[in-house]
């Protein structure tokens, strides 16, 4: 089982695909769930406090706005953890989206910079392209090690 980071980072379809092929998706939803359910932190709705932008400094300089660094405090550790990645470019909003273009640029860059297996595919615009799209992702996921590394 490989830990696969997906982009868009909150795509339910991608997350589901990764899981179906026996891998662990690294996605935003789970992290946000953790944040929302954290007991004792009172900063609704996401419970992101002033500490997160500081933690984001590991990924972006102080000049980069706090919102980017706050997002990177959640996304960055997932990139660090990732053993493989599936990036879907030019996806429709409904497929998954992160609201901040700067975070998106940095996220994709940091994933690409990692020396891990990466599949980059374009978002399909027709049924035929859709089939090809799922096929490519499936083949990629099948090529990843099925067993736990440890």
């Amino acid at each position: 089982m490989a830990k696969v980071i997906i982009y868009p980072i909150n795509s339910l379809i991608l997350s589901d695909l990764v899981e179906r092929f026996g891998h662990k998706p690294l996605a935003m939803m789970e992290k946000i769930k953790e944040k929302v359910n954290t007991v004792g932190v009172d900063s609704p709705p996401l419970n992101i406090t002033a500490e997160e932008p500081k933690m984001g400094l590991k990924y972006a300089a102080v000049e980069v706005p706090a919102g980017v660094r706050g997002r990177m405090a959640i996304v960055g550790p997932m990139i660090d953890e990732a053993e493989a990645a599936v990036i879907v470019n030019e996806a429709s909003m409904a497929f998954g989206c992160m609201g901040c273009a700067r975070t998106n640029e940095l996220t994709k860059y940091l994933i690409r910079k990692k020396e891990i297996p990466i599949l980059e595919v374009e978002y399909p615009r027709s049924e035929e392209e859709g089939q090809e799209f799922v096929y490519k992702i499936a083949e990629f996921l099948k090529s990843l090690p099925p067993e736990d590394k440890v």
């Binding site: 500081k54 400094l57 590991k58 972006a60 300089a61 102080v62 000049e63 980069v64 706005p65 980017v68 273009a101 700067r102 640029e105 940095l106 994709k108 860059y109 690409r112 910079k113």
Partner: protein
Amino acid sequence: MTKDKQVKVALVSCGSEYAGVQGELEKVAASVNAKLIFPEIDIASLDTIGRDFGIEAASPDLRLMMARAQAVVEGLTDVDGVFITSCFRCAEAAIVRNEVRRYINKHSNVPVISYSFTERTTAATLMTRMEALTTIAKRKHLLAREHQTGLTAGIDSGSTTTKAVIMRDDKIIGQGWVPTIKVIDSATEAFNHALEEAGVKAEEIQAIGTTGYGRFLVGEHFKAQLIQEEITVNSKGAVYLANKQKGPATVIDIGGMDNKAISVQDGIPGMFTMGGICAGASGRFLDMTAKRLGVEITELGALAVKGMQEKVEMNSYCIVFGIQSLVNSLAKGSRPEDVAAAACHSVVEQIFEQQLQEVDVKEPLILVGGSSLIEGVPKALSDLLKINVLVPPNSHLIGAVGSALLASGFVED
């Protein structure tokens, strides 16, 4: 410096020509005998550089910046140094600038500096950085010096204090440390103290080196053989005093007006930042804290070590707000020990947040400058970074020692 060959510096920017600062950039380059050049690129690469480099920046000029960086790394442009610059407050440029700097640093041996400008950026602001860049590029033989030989002097004319040392054969035999009031008068006073302690006459000194803000004036006055900015001098002085001349090191210098974070390899600076958006992140804030607490600056450290910073909320991002929270906490009945600890923590936190992510922190971490003598400061830094912080002996004399060490290169010449 003018005797050296002209240094070619690649300007990797996203349009400094449009920001009203190009003239200042050209001016500072000329003042250190450097020439700014725009790396040649293949125009077609602009269509693919986003994917090739990895950041699909929306701004085409940032794509140009990445393409120029790639041209430097691939050797398509022959340069001695790189100056990466973009507008202050542009988020996309801040991301690209940082990654471009890391990319060049990782894939080439060319020294790099990075700066975000406003329309008010002047040649004087950039002077120390550009001077350091050209020194690292062209005077590596000077920086390779590991031992002080002969009888030499170093004078560090800092913004708050002036330090002088006399050295003979790798030993400090005299030192002087006085507040900076009038630059030449203070330097003369510190130099005389050092001469007196060393028991030597000024005429016997074989070479003098000067550094710090007043280096040019003091250097000219004392006819110094070496007039050098404090980034290269301090990193050299730090690894020399800490006896860590080989391998990687990180030097943090908390000065009276600004701070430097320098990543060093074999005594030669690699990436460095000069920070201090506000004096709240510098020794000046500690000085003001000591005054408000009614203790000498030399007593502040011992007080801070006894206190708990967690008990006082303090943020010295801006010195005015920093002093405000200091006054408020005292008014609420906070203990002076806790306030002192919070002040040290706050200064260190500013350095951590504003500067340390721009250099790769590699151990040993050497803390120098007058603030390193305030025990609470190295403790706060060590607590924050969770690594050991090394404060070498005579850490406050770092600039003077570095100058005397490098000046000894002129004794043999």
